[in-house]
């Protein structure tokens, strides 16, 4: 009895000052409910009648549930963004306009490099279609096409399939039969289908290094096949030519741009920055911002935009590489790389093309709101272009890296990574096979590039409205004179282009965080207050009562129990068992008994409960009888434990 008493005394002494507010858990709960700031709990305690109390318990619990649910929703929706659109009317920066001729290099300059390839292509076309000159103009009749040396066709044989499933093919132009055992990739295009659909043309790529593995790529149209085949060889040849020579072979700015007019003021070739594109040769960028100065427009309308007359020398086009005539332009930001081959707009000759622009600026929030990147520095792909990051740049760089890793050399259409060189089959005889395999993987998203690359968070976009008109008009005197002026150029070699702002309204679409911490907290507060009139203070109260105080009480009880058990064990050999058993079973007995050992709420508050009476009212023999009854009727764990003592 000694430890219980001392503890009781101690609790009584210290109760209002340091320890928990009540001696037992249930009384703590009662105290909490009576004194808490939260509504609802008090009702549970105060209500009379079981039904009413039950309802209040239910209501309180459901309110707690609602709070938890709503707050969880609030937290989940924390990272949402709201979109705002602002329109500003102001002086706008004029975008960079890159203009290329569709034909990359002058054919007259390229001839020496391409003559053999052209000869073979010609031959192949002849065998396939049975005509010799076709629509070709006078320009390429110089050489004899009868030379039979065909190193290009040997390297990549062109095949004609009578039936895809029989796997027999005829070589072009030799006509030898050949059995195909390898996989056949059919590029399902049926644009210029010749004859029956069974009649397909393809080429065979042989990889010699690991095993002599072959892949045959077939096209439904012979023209397509030959064009692809030609392109492969063309890239090979171009890869071996140094950049300077290529620049010289392309069109100069003076060649391409006849007149130029910007914002009502005349401009000329000096306002254009040359830029060499691997597939389009020499391109010229207007307003590239190279010298740090970006032109602005302060008046909308076609008069104040960029007006150029382009001269595309159709007679000097490569007959096999390009099939269309005109120029390609792209409107882009000064910091962006112009992906002419992907997103260019084609300009027709003998027409006036007027392109009206609307400027839209967009900005997305980066992580954690959306998965985009601000600068591209967090993407594990080295930017091969010296321009600012874009998704396109990332994908191209990623593919080029994979190309260098797998095939050992770099693809011609993209910039060179440091230390690599362009593929050509003198050095890398089987790069084409490798390239085709890799490209297929890339398209099927097996290289992981699409997963690594993220979109850029902010981008400027110019929406273009393109319309065409006939130009020059049939009676126009100036243009006919102009034609005379520029060395009597035919109409079909000229293109008129006007790029202008339709209006100076800039639309800025930006994402803003819909929530911030202040709003989140105030939403929390709203929820807590609405359902239970609770606040952070209540939360602290709950922590205090349910965690700290309860923990104290429980540990104290455990400690007390353990201590008593220890005392009992020590006392067991000397004292008689019944006396030792009695206090161990107090929880099982009526309240009156427990009151002796553990201080209750009443005792703690010093309410007039006569202690002495309790002591007297509980005679020890009761325990024994109870214990005996219990032992016979109902083997409760407590009693079992008691008996074991």
């Amino acid at each position: 009895m000694a430890p219980g008493k001392t503890i009781k005394a101690k609790i009584k002494k210290t109760l209002p000052v340091t320890g928990p507010q009540a001696p037992t858990v249930s009384e703590l709960m009662h105290w909490y409910c009576m004194n808490t700031n939260t509504h609802g709990c008090r009702r549970i305690v105060v209500s009379r009648g079981r039904l009413r109390r039950f309802i209040w318990i239910l209501l309180t619990l459901s309110a707690v549930g609602l709070i938890l649910w709503q707050c969880a929703e609030l937290v989940m929706s924390y990272y949402t963004a709201s979109v705002s659109v602002t329109v500003q009317f102001q002086k706008l920066p004029f975008p960079a306009v890159t203009i290329c001729n569709i034909n990359p290099y002058k054919y007259s300059a390229m001839k020496e490099h391409l003559s053999e390839l052209d000869k073979e292509t010609k031959n192949a076309l002849e065998t396939l279609y049975g005509f010799s000159e076709g629509k070709s103009k006078v320009r390429r009749d110089a050489d004899d096409w009868n030379s039979t040396e065909s190193k290009f066709l040997e390297r990549i044989p062109l095949l004609k399939f009578k039936d895809l499933y029989k796997k027999t093919a005829t070589e072009i132009p030799s006509g030898n039969k050949r059995k195909i055992e390898t996989n056949v990739f059919h590029q399902g295009s049926s644009m210029v289908n010749t004859g029956d659909p069974q009649d397909v043309v393809g080429f065979q790529l042989v990889s010699s290094v690991p095993t002599s593995d072959c892949a045959v790529y077939t096209f439904s149209s012979g023209v397509n096949a030959i064009q692809e085949w030609y392109k492969l060889h063309y890239m090979n040849i171009m890869a071996q030519i140094p950049l300077e020579t290529k620049v010289n072979m392309g069109y100069s700015a003076e060649d391409l741009l006849l007149t130029c007019f910007f914002d009502g003021i005349s401009c000329d070739a000096r306002n254009f920055t040359p830029f060499h594109h691997p597939l389009y040769g020499n391109c010229y960028t207007f307003n590239s911002g190279e010298n740090g100065k970006v032109l602005t427009t302060s008046t909308g309308g076609s008069e104040y935009g960029l007006q150029v007359v382009l001269y595309v020398e159709e007679a000097d086009y490569n007959p096999f590489l390009v099939t269309s005539t005109g120029a390609k332009i792209i409107v882009h930001d000064q910091h962006e790389y112009p992906f002419i081959e992907d997103i260019g707009t084609e300009i027709e000759t003998a027409t006036a093309t007027s392109i009206g622009m609307h400027f839209t600026r967009s900005h997305k929030l980066s992580k954690p709101y959306s998965d985009c990147t601000e600068t591209g520095t967090d993407i594990p792909v080295a930017n091969l272009y010296n321009k600012s990051y874009s998704l396109q740049i990332c994908l191209h760089s990623c593919f080029q890296r994979a190309m260098v890793d797998t095939c050992g050399c770099a693809q011609y259409a993209q910039p060179l990574p440091p230390g690599a060189e362009y593929c050509n089959y003198k050095k890398y005889p089987n790069w084409m096979y490798c390239y085709y395999k890799l490209h297929e993987k890339f398209v099927k998203e097996q290289l992981g590039c699409q997963q690594i690359c993220k979109e850029a968070c902010s981008f400027n976009e110019w929406t273009l409205t393109t319309s065409l008109a006939q130009w020059p008009s049939s009676v126009s005197e100036v243009s006919s004179h102009q034609g005379l002026l520029s060395l009597s150029l035919p109409r079909t070699d000229l293109a008129n282009l006007v790029v202008f702002y339709k209006d100076l309204n800039e639309r800025f679409i930006s994402e803003n965080p819909a929530n911030n911490i202040v709003i989140l907290l105030s939403n929390f507060g709203g929820q807590l207050g609405l359902w239970m009139s609770c606040s952070v203070v209540c939360v602290i109260e709950i922590i205090e009562v349910f965690f700290i105080d309860s923990f104290f009480i429980v540990t104290r009880r455990r400690w007390q129990k353990a201590k008593r058990w220890w005392n009992d064990r020590k006392a067991a050999p000397t004292q008689e068992p019944p006396q030792g058993n009695a206090p161990a079973r107090e929880g099982h007995d009526n309240l009156a008994c427990t009151d002796e050992d553990l201080p209750t709420f009443n005792t703690a508050l010093g309410l007039p409960v006569p202690h002495e009476n309790h002591m007297l009212r509980t005679p020890p023999p009761n325990y024994n009888t109870l214990q005996l009854d219990a032992a016979f009727t109902d083997p409760l764990p407590d009693t079992l434990e008691g008996r074991s003592h």
Binding site: S298, L468, V478, L485, K502, V537
Partner: protein, 662 residues
């Protein structure tokens, strides 16, 4: 009466005193407030008390900080946008069609005869000088003939020159007709001079053709601006010539459904569905079948040879009752083609001030809208042009031909204002003036753009009957041959499957939002509400009340002190002798009664303290019966005693000192 009652009540309250102290008030507040923190401060033990005090303080400051943020957010008037896309029955846009050439050459030929001859000659000269070393005739001869043949009056106003920049420091300027050499490094330029004092600017070009075109436009503008408007309209393309067929939905329409306006750039323009006189037409179905179909004849043969080199129709979609600014937003339709235009109406509805800086109807813009004469609504383009015209009038004294005129101003022409071209070109290149206009004009709050998807096909087809016979919508509706394929255009304008995309703004932070957020914050940290604020305000009022009362009583005490001192000095012993000569403690009430002040218990003031204490001190010090007046005299005014007493009082020992007993 009410006031009087009120004041008496206040007086009573003042006399009665607050009834409690600051501490009592605070404790009462903490115990009874609905705010969550303070109660804990009172109820807990000393250690927790401190913790709770700081917690409450922390939460209160958090609440105020975040309230500040919220109010700041509210005052930034941010907006949230909502986007809706779909199809609904909408007003069909107004469609303006013009010919690319403003006039029929056959009608204006007589006016431009001299100019054309000049141009012809100039072009020949340029041609010779360009690559004419071998082929050119002797230049002197030709220039003579040129001067003989031509009337050089027009030429001399704005001549075309060649600038020889072979020596970059000293460019040589040669009149085109006086040159006798064919320089390779020459650049064509237009010379524009101001007349009274001949300063000239040269407007140079890379291409001669361009120079000639610009020069021609300048010259023809000044010639044509002298022709009255009615005549000019007659020179242009007439509606019955231009609009061959028209079909809206399933209903046929004709050129009579078009409103004619005169557009300075494009001559006669025709607007369909402008909505000026009658209700705007609506279209309730997507697709070409339910849109507008037009067949236009642009008769390319009758174009002015030097003025427009582009052939086609210019068209524009715009809102009802707005002016079409074709140069800015118009598109071309190519002759010999069928142009299909799918329309998506892109609307932006914004809230006005203070959410964004835009104008609802242009009434708050400091620029007079000159396009009001067309009865059209405000638009930013109209504002910019009006602004430019106003500046033009200010600087050059005449109005530019391309824009409407303000009251009492004439269009510029070379005869009346010989230096207008100089003035105009300097104004046009002045960035300061442009910036001024940009700053003074505001965009409209409701911005509608028509997004067009344009596709083209050859029309009429090779096999088509119409190829050589275009429709001419005559009254007898007979088919006759009008023009070849190059002169006719077919247009289809229709709504796309989704015909509107509306971005509308709404206030992101309303007063309701602000209140609920404020409440949320207060509730979250302290479980408080507006009532708590009122409670707090009440407490503050009580505080003030207590303070006021204390100050008043202190003042009263001070007054008493003075009065007593005065009284004692005057009648030192008299009062005591009269009333209770042997009871020193009662003395203190004497002056009070004397001053009729109150029956209320007097608060323990400093005077009281001093008095009692000094009495006791003197009593204990002397320990012998002394004469009362002498004792008092000693106790009350002398300085050393007084200071000691105040010190003791302030040390709070007052309670400990017993009053001297009799």
């Amino acid at each position: 009466m009410n006031f009087k009652r009120y004041f008496t009540r206040v007086l009573h309250r003042l006399q009665k005193g607050p009834g409690y102290t600051y501490k009592e008030l605070l404790v009462w507040y903490c115990d009874n407030t609905n705010t969550h923190g303070p109660k804990r401060i009172i109820k807990e033990g000393p250690k927790k008390k401190v913790i709770w005090f700081f917690l409450t303080l922390l939460f209160a400051s958090l609440v105020f900080w975040q309230w500040g943020i919220l109010i700041d957010t509210y005052l930034s008037y941010s907006v949230s946008s909502s986007l809706s896309i779909g199809f609904k029955t909408m007003k069909f846009p107004a469609v303006t069609v013009c010919n690319a050439s403003p006039y029929k050459y056959s009608k204006v030929r007589h006016l431009l005869k001299e100019l054309d001859a000049l141009t012809e000659a100039a072009l020949e000269r340029i041609l010779q000088s360009k690559h004419g070393n071998a082929i050119s005739a002797p230049p002197l001869n030709s220039s003579e003939t040129v001067s003989q043949r031509l009337d050089l009056k027009l030429w001399n106003q704005i001549p075309l020159v060649l600038i020889d920049e072979s020596d970059p420091d000293y460019p040589v300027i040669i009149d085109l007709f006086e040159t006798d050499q064919s320089g390779s490094g020459t650049q064509p330029a237009v010379k524009v001079c101001s007349l009274p004092d001949p300063t000239c600017i040269y407007w140079n070009f890379t291409s001669a053709a361009q120079a000639v075109t610009e020069w021609y436009i300048l010259q023809s503008t000044s010639i044509l601006s002298q022709v009255p408007l009615q005549e000019r309209m007659k020179m242009g393309y007439q509606p019955e010539d231009m609009i061959l067929a028209c079909l809206f939905g399933a209903e046929p329409c004709s050129y009579r459904n078009f409103t004619q306006i005169y557009h300075p750039d494009h001559g006669n323009c025709y607007i369909f569905n402008w909505g000026m006189d009658e209700e705007a037409l609506i279209s309730s179905n997507p697709g070409a079948e339910f849109g507008l179909k037009l067949i236009l004849d642009i008769s390319q043969q009758d174009y002015i040879p030097y003025l427009t080199s582009t052939a086609g129709a210019r068209l524009m979609l715009h809102e009802q009752k707005s002016f079409p600014f074709l140069k800015d937003q118009g598109i071309y339709a190519m002759s010999g083609t069928e142009t299909s235009i799918g329309v998506l109406v892109d609307e932006l509805e914004r809230m006005g001030y203070p959410y964004s800086d835009c104008t609802m109807n242009g009434s708050d813009v400091p620029v007079k809208n000159l396009y009001n004469e067309y009865n059209t609504s405000y638009s930013i383009q109209a504002c910019l042009r009006s602004c430019f015209q106003a500046q033009m009038f200010e600087n050059c004294g005449c109005g530019h031909y391309l824009f409407p005129l303000p009251e009492g101003v004439n269009y510029c022409n070379s005869e009346d204002d010989p230096d207008w071209a100089y003035c105009y070109s300097s104004l046009r290149s002045s960035i300061r003036h442009r910036q001024f206009c940009i700053d003074s004009c505001k965009e409209t709050c409701n911005d509608t753009q028509y997004k067009m998807t344009i596709s083209m096909a050859d029309w009429p087809s090779e096999a088509s009957e119409v190829k050589h016979r275009a429709y001419r919508a005559r009254i007898e509706s007979e088919l006759i041959l009008v023009s070849d394929r190059n002169g006719i255009i077919k247009l289809n304008i229709y709504f796309q499957e989704y015909n509107y995309r509306t971005i509308s703004e709404s206030a992101a932070t309303t007063i309701v939002w602000l209140l609920s957020s404020l409440g949320g914050q207060f509730g979250f940290w302290m479980g408080g509400s507006v009532l708590c604020l009122i409670e707090f305000g009440e407490i503050i009022i009580d505080f003030l009340w207590i303070t006021i009362i204390k100050i008043i009583s202190w003042c009263k005490g001070l007054k008493q002190k003075r009065a007593r001192a005065h009284w004692w000095r005057l009648t030192p012993i008299l009062g005591f002798n009269m009333r209770t000569p042997t009871s020193p403690p009662e003395m203190k009430f004497l002056p009070l009664e004397h001053s009729h002040q109150s029956q209320a218990p007097h608060p323990p003031t400093t005077t009281h303290c001093v008095l009692t204490h000094c009495l006791s001190v003197t009593r204990t010090a002397m320990q012998r019966p002394v004469k009362k007046h002498r004792r008092l005299r000693c106790a009350w005014p002398p300085d050393p005693c007084h200071s000691l007493c105040t010190m003791l009082c302030s040390l709070g020992k007052l309670q400990g000192i017993k009053r001297p007993q009799r």
